[in-house]
Amino acid sequence: MTTAHAEAAGTLPHEPEKATLEGRNKVLAFWLFLGGESVLFGTLFATFLALRNQTNEGPSANELFHLPLVAAATFLLLVSSLTSVFAIQAMHRNKPALLRNWLLITVFLGLGFLGLEIYEFSEYIRHEKFGMTTSAFSSAFYTLVGFHGAHVAFGILWISVLIGQLARKGLTVITAPKVYVSAMYWHFIDVVWVFIFTVVYLLGKVG
């Protein structure tokens, strides 16, 4: 069904996020934004890699990190990336209720990830005496991982607001690009986390 036919028939075109020029522009512009985000995280990774052994007699990465906690957080975020794929597939099949459910599951998994990260940071600060200003390593760690956590928090807020907007305005060629772009953002957050668990946690254990 072409876009014009779909609109005339009152149904949604197959890929509603690309049905309007504005929608296509939003997706393209968001890719440019993600390219910029890559640079931003690249600079934080660079800082971390340069300073990761400057522990200033504070805890080192090897002493600090517990792999089971990191593995659990990794799994939560990976599953949430899959559920946002399912959300977009539900959108492409024009099933708003299913779309909402998958978005809700994505948000809850994101909250679980954030909860684990908050627990992890509070353990480091309270029991390990590993604060923001303990060492160059700790500053670089909290800045990089915390910045990613802030992205997760923003994503949760964003998708939650979209769930509300979908409930009020329905799934249209206006709301669909917003959902699609938020899913791109969520995938990107998971991609960044792949590098974080590899470079920060696993390489920290290897030494």
Binding site: M1, T2, T3, A4, P13, H14, E15, K18, A19, R24, V27, L28, W31, L32, L34, G35, G36, E37, S38, V39, F41, G42, T43, F45, A46, T47, L49, A50, L67, A71, T74, F75, L78, V79, S81, L82, V85, F86, Q89, H92, R93, M184, H187, F188, D190, V191, V194, F195, F197, T198, V199, L202, L203, K205, V206, G207
Partner: protein, 108 residues
């Protein structure tokens, strides 16, 4: 680019054909889990040569990122040349920053 897919000439058949099922996304998910497990297991097991471990971990991460960006973010699909250029541009500058930090800051 994207307009090609929505020109009036490519009608219902092509669009219905593009409707993909969840199978391949689940395959990507399973592969991601396997790559993640290999990385975690290599570190948790210990005793792995450090240089080898670093290379293994980075290769696992890069594979997983290519899989997820290709399939979940649709970079493998037609009409994604500009997004690929944007991302490669971003990765190139990010990589330059990392090389700078590792080899310039600690140059002696």
């Amino acid at each position: 680019m994207a307009t090609e897919q929505h020109s009036p000439s490519d009608g219902a058949v092509k669009h219905r054909h593009r409707q993909e099922g969840p199978q391949r996304h689940i395959v990507v998910f399973v592969l991601s889990v396997v790559l993640t497990l290999i990385a975690f297991a290599a570190v948790a097991a210990g005793g792995v040569n450090a240089t080898f471990a670093v290379i293994l971990l980075l290769v696992m991460a890069v594979f997983q990122v290519i899989l997820q960006m290709g399939f979940w973010m649709h970079l493998k699909d037609k009409g994604h040349l500009l997004p690929i250029i944007f991302m490669l541009g971003g990765f190139f500058i990010a990589g330059t920053c990392i090389v700078m930090a590792l080899y310039w800051v600690w140059w002696d």
